[in-house]
């Protein structure tokens, strides 16, 4: 019963709110674009996307709760390469938790083609400058990413490249770490747990639960400059594997009531 209530209310509200919010945000960004430089417009567009993402994450409350935990410490950088694990379709929305932790963070996501094909949202992602890694030449991709970082725009990766669908973390592709070695920018690992069934792989049905998003202390250039890309990739993978295991254990290792288990 909870699952039905959650999904009916969420998808209805999501549709209604999107029909209202997206035009409002479009007008807002258009007005900004008329009064300032392109860079400022892009910043406001990315902020608008963060607001929209926040709305999406709050809609399923109280059945689904999201907790953002900033463990970056005092030296937490704003501009960085953020590396997330990838369990569920909800992960790209959970990136907005970075904005909750620090309003100064402005970022674009590296995506794997399909998000650009989502109606309306895909267009917004393109306009905001998200990068479709498979549709770009490697050197163009690195050059564009480096420009973003120089410009104060963080780059957000899901280096598994696809949803794991469970608690095991897949192997990482190396481009995030090669970018770090090229630019010397900090790497911030961010661990997401609790959303394996929000929704599960191959389904759009949300299940009640608590999602936790934890940003770990940054790896600064001095921490990793002597590593090869492969070593760095594996180092970060291990950090995140250990942390997600700890976080899963903190969640109690059990499914929420009503999950069907």
């Amino acid at each position: 019963m909870r699952v039905i209530c959650l999904n009916v209310s969420f998808y209805l509200l999501f549709l209604l709110c999107s029909l209202v919010v997206i035009p409002i945000l479009a007008v807002y960004v258009t007005l900004v674009s008329l009064t300032g430089p392109r860079r400022r417009t892009l910043k406001h567009l990315r902020k608008a996307i963060s607001w929209y993402g926040t709305m999406a994450l709050l809609l399923p409350f109280p059945w689904v709760r999201v907790k953002a935990e900033d463990h970056r410490g005092d030296a937490g950088p704003d501009t960085a390469i953020y590396v997330f694990n990838h369990r569920s379709m909800s992960d790209p929305f959970l990136v907005v938790c970075l904005f909750w932790m620090d309003r100064e963070i402005e970022g674009i996501q590296v995506v794997n083609i399909w998000p650009f094909r989502i109606p309306v949202l895909g267009l917004l992602a393109r306009l905001a400058g998200y990068l479709s890694v498979r549709e770009m030449e490697t050197e163009d991709f690195f050059a564009r990413s480096a420009e973003y970082l120089e410009d104060g725009v963080s780059v957000v990766y899901f280096p598994e490249g696809t949803r794991s669908g469970g608690r095991e973390m897949g192997q990482f592709h190396g481009s995030a770490f090669r970018l770090a070695l090229r630019t010397g920018k900090p790497i911030v690992p961010v661990c997401i747990v609790g959303n394996e069934r929000i929704p599960p792989r191959g389904s759009l049905v949300l299940h009640p639960g608590t999602i936790r998003v934890r940003a770990l202390p940054a790896l600064m250039h001095d921490d990793y400059k002597d590593l090869t890309p492969f070593q760095l990739k594996n180092r970060v993978w291990q950090l995140m594997a250990d942390e997600t295991a700890k976080m899963d254990a903190e969640l109690g290792g059990k499914w929420e009531v009503g999950s069907g288990r």
Binding site: Q171, F172, H173, S175, R178, T228, P229
Partner: protein
């Protein structure tokens, strides 16, 4: 160069450049699925193999067909044979 020597030197490349434990370096180990390399890592692998064996293989189309360690052993053996014949 004996096949065992090729195996030993190829495995050294994986141990030194990628810090992969020797026990994982089985002939049927898949370079991507088992050993965790991605397409960008294969560029580094090719450079390391060139340095280790003193051969030029970067533009060799047969590199694209490599999937397992066994494939690498066979490829290097073939390249060495061809350079001896020429």
């Amino acid at each position: 160069m004996a096949d065992e020597e090729i195996v030993k030197l190829v495995n050294e490349v994986f141990e030194e450049s990628f810090e992969i434990e020797p026990e994982r370096l089985k002939p049927d180990a898949h370079v991507f699925n088992d050993l965790g390399l991605d397409s960008l890592d294969t560029v580094d692998l090719v450079v390391a193999l060139q340095q280790k064996f003193g051969v030029k293989i970067r533009s060799d189309q047969r590199v694209r067909a490599i999937r397992t360690l066994d494939d690498i052993y066979g490829f290097i053996a073939a390249v060495r044979e061809e350079s001896r014949d020429s």
